[in-house]
Symmetry: C2
Subunit: 437 residues, 2 copies
């Protein structure tokens, strides 16, 4: 893609309400455009990043055997009355009357709807365990939407739901998802900490938040630094290993402020290992057993033919929020560097453009074609502006690798730069192998 053709409305005007760096950066680099309070359009650059995150989430959900489906955004109020949450949910739920006066709502979460799908489909323990998920737009009518995509009204979320016969089996599903979440965030270059958390309006008594460290985070967090020493690669995807994994994590103190008790913190964590900082929630998992299946009559025949309420958990990842969260975690000293796995492009070519001499741009186009052949997703910045402006702009766009076609690039030896590092002179073949691995 040539930058002059790409729809990236870069702007210097940052509205005053953009208070945190991810919100500012996403507006500056034309990743998003606000359409109304707390509601955004995702322009091509932002859309590409979100799509890559979505695909990593999908792959890791599929890996643990979860099956993808898709529930609608508009739900009937009826099922929420069955579960008892219709009145509880408050004004954050966007309530709608259709033309025939039926009470509808824009789903803020899907426990009721998936329970309704499940109860009419599955009758026997033989079909369990099951994990179903979808990646769909949700809506919460925030009274004060802010922080860009971090706390907006319409947001993109992966939510999964597990169904088991017994509480014991259900914990195995919970562990699978716990593992999947850590793997998902690792692949995005994020170090997420699982933390014991309150369950809020979802319910149940077992719950973990996955939190990444960032000064601008909304939650205060308290943790033992040793939690960073656990290496996920040491666990296998089997029942015993996953059980050990969750024990290893949860034996180390890590809580959000809701669960914080100073006495416990001092008792269980050595002074020098005490970490008190802020974090951003990027995922949240819940085990709530029969909280929905019981009132909604979602029954399963057990081995003896006896009907029992299916045991359920739910598991959310904020896909659109992760775009902002990744920026909060990676944007420092006026340089944003996207993790390779979710960068909008693999590499950008920056030719120094001279109206009277097309040598650099010709060379850039030749390299562009070469890289394209290797299926490398390359951006060519063909915009006619001086190099210093170009560098500043790309410090914000954040593609992690640059090929600079100026005085230092001679013949086949090219100036290659990784953001936040010094540039080096490399052959195109060496550059290709760096980009592909």
């Amino acid at each position: 893609m040539y930058l002059s053709k790409l729809f990236v409305p870069i702007t210097k005007d940052i509205p005053a309400e953009a208070k945190i760096k991810s919100h500012q950066l996403m507006l500056q680099t034309g990743m998003i455009k606000q359409s109304s309070a707390g509601i955004y359009s995702w322009l091509p650059l932002g859309f590409k990043v979100m799509k890559k995150i979505e695909n990593i989430v999908r792959e890791e959900q599929n890996f643990i055997g979860a099956q993808e489906m898709l529930m609608p955004t508009i739900q009937s109020a009826e099922i929420w009355k069955e579960s008892g949450r219709y009145e509880d949910y408050g004004e954050e739920m966007l309530r709608i009357k259709d033309r025939q006066g039926r009470e509808m709502l824009y789903g803020p979460t899907n426990e009721e709807l998936i329970t309704d799908v499940f109860r009419s489909s599955v009758k026997s323990y033989k079909s369990l365990p099951q994990i179903l998920y979808h990646i769909q737009w949700k809506f919460r009518d925030e009274i004060r939407p802010r922080f860009g995509v971090m706390r907006c009204k319409e947001f993109f979320m992966k939510d999964a739901y597990s169904f088991d016969l017994t509480d014991e089996d259900a914990k195995k599903s919970y562990n699978k998802m716990f593992y999947s979440y850590l793997k998902t965030f690792n692949r995005m270059g994020l170090k997420a900490i699982p933390m014991a958390a309150d369950t809020g309006p979802i319910g149940g008594d077992l719950s973990h938040e996955f939190v990444i460290l960032a000064e601008t985070g909304e939650s205060q967090i308290y943790a033992d630094k040793n939690i960073f020493q656990i290496d996920l690669n040491e666990y296998k995807f089997d029942e015993a290993s996953l059980k050990k994994m969750r024990n290893d994590f949860t034996n180390i103190y890590a809580v959000t402020d809701e669960k914080f008790k100073k006495d416990n913190f001092d008792k269980f964590v050595k002074k020098e290992n005490q970490m008190i900082t802020r974090g951003i929630e990027v995922g949240h998992i819940f085990y709530f057993s029969d909280k929905y299946s019981e009132p909604m009559n979602c029954l399963i025949d057990d081995k003896n033919g006896k009907k029992t309420s299916v045991k359920m958990g739910s598991y959310g990842i904020g896909v659109s929020r992760l775009v902002g969260a990744t920026i909060e975690a990676n944007y420092n000293n006026n340089v944003m560097k996207w993790p390779k796995s979710i960068s909008p492009f693999d590499v950008v070519i920056l030719p120094s453009i001279n109206k009277n001499n097309t040598e650099n741009i010709d060379k850039a186009e030749k390299i562009y074609k070469e890289l394209k052949k290797q299926n490398i997703d390359v951006l060519l910045d063909d915009v006619d502006e001086n190099m210093s402006n170009k560098f500043k702009k790309h410090d914000l766009i954040g593609i992690p690798f640059q090929i600079i076609i100026g005085s230092k690039s001679k013949g086949d030896e090219l100036e290659f730069k990784e953001l936040n590092s010094k540039s080096e002179i490399l052959s195109l073949d060496k550059i290709k192998s760096k980009l592909i691995t």
Copy 2:
């Protein structure tokens, strides 16, 4: 995937309101489940088909240089007041008041919102032409939703928008999209006819519907059979060739009932070539020039620095509707056969299961692993039921190829069947090469 693990709630109870075969089949094979009137959940089997259609649409949009983005589902009423359509649109528009009393709506289409994005981003003719598209859920509050996903309330649609400096340039964008649509439908195994059409609430004076033939179609169509003789492969993706392509198509009589005039039909089409039948609309393209850009003040500087309203067109494909439309076009004599490109699985293995002898199921599992290694997406039907029921079930699920592990499969020679054809005995290697090509 093993069928016993796949979430496919197959049912024999077809509700009386399912009147057309696609609606019946989708409910029977657990592709969808109704959540409320005209609103559906897409279960794994249906979801997979829709996703494959979405990807073909995406690839063909990208091929012509359209850029993907994503606009939200909930829009502000303000921009619809600017364009003048807020009052016009009638009760089909789902109108919403948020908690602060602001007038919002669930987008039935996106001309206003994309014009708003564009006017704040692009100022100069130098950035033109541009084509932007998104694939997003839409809502139309149908008074009588029916025919399953064919005429439902919440539907998945690709809509693209072109921006050009002049009417002449805009026609070139129109031709690109015309070509892209025909290619898209061809890849799904559908023969779509472009037909001169009325523009309705979108506006403008140039418009084509893309219609596939099906007895259950909602529109009466009148066409010259010669339209099927045009071979899309004869055109190249360049301006002159695309212009010729559109001329070649539009010089042959083909209209929906809104545009039908008997005199013209008889004048321009020989009696023996007159085709009068029914069809399903799967795509619709519009050129409406400055209908939205003028009232919404979406201005571009031309070469002389003079401000002019940008010239726009819009282009829709009903992605969720195409799942139903493909069934209407392909489901005959109680056999549904999915086109290879959008089938939920590439092949299904059907072992004859004997509780006292695991030979067949063991063999099936071995073949399953072999095919998986080649990245063939295979379903193994491990459900314990007799073969006659299995065949009936798979006549509906519609995976085009079957490997039958029963008495006719001996050693490495396997019974292989393409739906609607006789089975043959083939080696696994031959089967693989059939599936991969």
